[in-house]
């Protein structure tokens, strides 16, 4: 029984020519040029979601840095911390 199972399992490897009917198995269907075309297209489409994701993360990071910088600037401008210097400089 297991021999029949192994033969069925190995059949696609032995008779791989039958797999040419698959929509994405282009070997022999249109030549190397068409295969290259599909490969480049697939690579491009595969990279795009990651590019978008990292762009959005970069935008959030930039927004955070800008907001933090702005908040720091406001803190230095108008908080009681400055009073400490005034107190020190007052000569007490």
């Amino acid at each position: 029984m297991w021999i029949v199972g192994a033969l069925i399992g190995l059949a696609p490897m032995v008779f791989h020519g039958a797999a040419d009917a698959c929509a994405v198995c282009l070997n022999g269907a249109g030549g190397a040029r068409l295969t290259d075309a599909f490969n480049w297209s697939v690579l491009f489409l595969m990279a795009m979601p990651y590019t978008i994701l990292f762009s959005v993360i970069g935008f959030f990071f930039y927004s955070y840095r800008r907001a933090a910088k702005k908040a720091r600037g406001e803190t230095e401008k108008g908080t009681p911390l400055r009073l400490a210097w005034i107190h020190k400089e007052s000569g007490r």
Binding site: G30, R33, L34, D36, A37, F38, W40, S41, V42, F44, L45, M48, P49, I52, V56, F59, F60, S63, Y64, A67, A68, K70, A71, R72, E74, T75, T79, P80, L81, L83, A84, I86, H87, R92
Partner: protein, 215 residues
Amino acid sequence: MASEAIARKVVEPALPAFGGGEPPDRPAALSQPLVSNARLALLMLIAAETMFFSGLIGAFIVFRVASQAWPPPFQPRLPVGVTAVNTVILLLSGVAAHLARRAARAGKSALLQRWLSITVALGTVFLAVQGYEWLRLIRYGLKLSSGVYGATFYTLIGCHGAHVLGGTLWLLVVLAQARKGRFTEHDYAGVQLCAMYWTFVVALWPILYGLVYLY
């Protein structure tokens, strides 16, 4: 002597300005959301649009790389020179949109209206030149039905043209709002969102130009 030292300690605490207690609260700017809901929604729209154009570009790559000769024989050549000038016009409109956003942030209403008008004018010029070139190409025999060359060209460039048209209409609405004094230095989200969308449309064009016209 000892009592004098103790008295000095009492009179001069380590942090005289605060007078004890907890340090000041976190600044309010950090407790607010970094990106507003409207900007987040527009980011999602732009991400979806990017994937839409990626699909079209992917299809174009398949046809372009698989083709033996591009453009195919007996098909008209695309107007590379005129479109290069048109590319510069669209890029300048992107700069104008950026300056409009800066003017809105500074609360300069007159300057905002001027830069928005310039952006609309440049976008309209881009569309007019594209339309004229399309009419010429159709007259020379390049149609949507004349094979993959015409189909990919009109689909890709046409979709971008539709986005430029949409962006120009949006800019016109924002310009009308700016003339009514809708925007202030604290409330200019409309300008910001429109400028973001326009930047996307402008940034996309050089990629399409390089791919469709030059490659």
